[in-house]
């Protein structure tokens, strides 16, 4: 019980801190959210490529995998694992295979929802 509570505290701390860094970047540099996403993805991919992000995931669980940095790390890590197990084929496809579920669900469900809703968000 105490260990799981401690885990949740770590998740909150790491996930919240990553988001707070994003907010600091938004406030100080006036970058748009799209660029923030790309910047964090690249940071995560670099850390994942050097096998550093794996330790953050081990320590903080979802606090590291849920931010977009985890998505980038998953891309890099998938490519590394693919290269080791499947050679060139894995090196080319491994990144997308590792993250395919998230991308597929995002695209498919967004299409479905947009198809059945009319844009109300235009008001503001």
């Amino acid at each position: 019980m105490i260990t799981s509570l401690l885990m949740y505290l770590k998740v909150l701390l790491v996930g919240g801190t990553i988001c707070m860094i994003g907010e600091i970047i938004i406030i100080t540099t006036k970058l748009t959210p799209a660029r923030i996403l790309v910047v964090f993805l690249m940071i995560g991919a670099v850390l994942g490529g050097f096998n550093v992000y794996q330790y953050i995931i081990e320590w903080a669980g979802a606090g590291a995998t849920i931010p977009i940095t985890g998505f980038g790390a998953g891309l890099a890590r998938g490519a590394i694992i693919g290269a080791k197990t499947n050679g060139l084929f894995g090196a080319l496809g491994g990144g997308l295979i590792a993250t395919s579920v998230g991308i597929a669900v995002s695209i498919g469900l967004s299409y479905l929802i947009a198809f059945f809703t009319n844009s109300k968000t235009k008001k503001n």
Binding site: S4, M7, V11, L12, G15, G16, T17, I18, C19, G22, E23, I25, I26, I27, P33, A34, I36, L37, V38, F40, L41, A45, G49, A62, G63, T65, I66, P67, I68, T69, G70, F71, G72, L75, A76, A79, I80, G82, K84, L88, G90, A91, G95, V101, G102, I103, V105, S106, L109, S110, Y111, I113, A114, F115, F116, T117, N118, K120, T121, N124
Partner: protein
């Protein structure tokens, strides 16, 4: 004349004071909302782990992400997510919810321009660069790790 000077001083005083407090507040909001989304993801993976003990960690992590993606897109369709995003700032952008929301909101907004060049093409207006950069980088990493 004296009144004018006083007003100018007051405006300068407000300008000096106001950004700082909202700065701290928005940082706190981002921490809270982003942390809460991650805690929710951890709860999903803990529940999955207790029901399917044989599932490997990568699959459990992917399911946690998918659960947040699904909830985000449904909330975006209902128009609720905008309100959360206004409160949370980067706390909703940086987690995977920001990625899902960018696709869903663009899809909904550009649906009126048609299904092919509106919805189908412009749903990637924000997510496209993210996917393009990510895939390019994963190709580079894959090829480098193939050599070494």
């Amino acid at each position: 004349m004296n009144k004018k000077l006083r007003n100018e001083n007051y405006i300068r005083y407000v300008e000096r004071k106001s950004p700082k407090s909202s700065w701290f507040k928005s940082l706190f909001h981002a921490f809270l909302v982003g942390g809460a989304i991650c805690v929710f993801g951890q709860m999903v993976s803990d529940i999955l782990k207790s029901y399917f003990p044989l599932m490997d960690l990568l699959t459990i992590g992917a399911w946690a992400s998918v659960s947040i993606i699904v909830i985000t897109i449904i909330l975006t369709g209902l128009g609720v997510f905008d309100r959360i995003a206004r409160f949370g700032g980067a706390g909703t952008v940086v987690p995977i919810s920001g990625f899902a929301n960018s696709i869903a909101s663009c899809a909904i907004e550009f649906k009126k321009e048609g299904l092919v060049f509106g919805l189908g093409a412009k749903m990637f207006y924000i997510a496209g660069p993210v996917i393009a950069n990510g895939v390019l980088f994963s190709l580079i990493v894959g090829l480098i790790s193939l050599i070494f």
